[in-house]
Symmetry: C2
Subunit: 232 residues, 2 copies
Amino acid sequence: MRYAVLGTGIVGRTIAAKLSSLGHETVIGTRAPATTLARTEPDGYGNPPFAQWQADHAAVRLVTFAEAAAWAEAVVNTTAGAASLDALTAAGADNLAGKVLIDVANPLDFSAGMPPSLNPVNTDSLGEQIQRAFPHTRVVKALNTMNCEVMVDPSRVTGEHDVFLSGDDTDAKKQVAEVLVSFGWAAASVIDLGDITTARGTEMLLPIWLRLWGALGHADFNFHIAGTRTSA
Amino acid sequence: MRYAVLGTGIVGRTIAAKLSSLGHETVIGTRAPATTLARTEPDGYGNPPFAQWQADHAAVRLVTFAEAAAWAEAVVNTTAGAASLDALTAAGADNLAGKVLIDVANPLDFSAGMPPSLNPVNTDSLGEQIQRAFPHTRVVKALNTMNCEVMVDPSRVTGEHDVFLSGDDTDAKKQVAEVLVSFGWAAASVIDLGDITTARGTEMLLPIWLRLWGALGHADFNFHIAGTRTSA
């Protein structure tokens, strides 16, 4: 499968490396590849400059959002939530049409300082905004409720823990569930919450996630829904 | 310990019955006891009228909010979130001063239909509103992230699962943790998230809780935080 991962941050790098390691042709999309590659300083979170990461992952090319989306069969949105709609607009509605888009972003709002709040929230979600803006794209919200290292290696967290799917397209959710299983997730740990409006629920896990990160002192934790599972 | 449970709904009844069964003197507070006792129809959720429940729990008297708060050593708020500030105002700031208040309510907003949204949300929480309105009361948000049957009998849910505490008063949180252990919670399952602003995180679990309720088809589930626990 040809994957385009949109976003050059640590989440995008981690998912792109995993997809590439599984044998998928993978590109990363960004606004201005030459600018990104020219950076020599760590990013705002202290991650090494992209060019350094790319040297270790030569199979993953860096291209524009539009080139990435046009070339790929499936797309992963790992851009910052506040920038996601612009990034996807740059990727191009025609380039995204008919494709599965795994939306990993959270609409964190840092405008009032730390901890961030969410925008949109409560009566809307970023997942829904993306689905409304790109009605011909098969949006599946997934993986946005955990640290990126856990996304691609669930064995980092001891015990049973879960990953949630939200989306309007049943076949798209099935495809994403298969990707998650290839990442190491047990099929029984993939919980289909329902349509894309259920993304409100997973995005609204971020505030407690951030507080747990502080209380536990590490990010190798995840949510588990304890109790009997009945098949939907 | 003398407990006042504010609210005559199923959550209040369930917690009052548990406290009473553990040997605590317990009253339930409501706005107009005579009116509540005169009802002969099930409530809006299909629960039997209060008088019927009271007949089976004669040790638990029904009194006014103010009588309950004045008499009690500790208070549990199980009123509907939208009515909580009014109920606590009726209970009286002086009657609540210095006491531990376990806030179990969630600020569900049904004004736009189902599923409910939250109000306040994101940059504020009901727990914080209550603490600001009653600065001399020791507010601890707890138990608001699960069905009331699970609150008082965690063994209903298979496997490990957790309960969260939010509050500014460390001793008050310790007291509430002891109450939870007396309800059957393992001490290791009580997670102190931090100050009362962390109540935003637990109240914001409600949207995914409601969707999980739908997806799983039952309410005997709960959140578990998987991963290594370091003591705070």
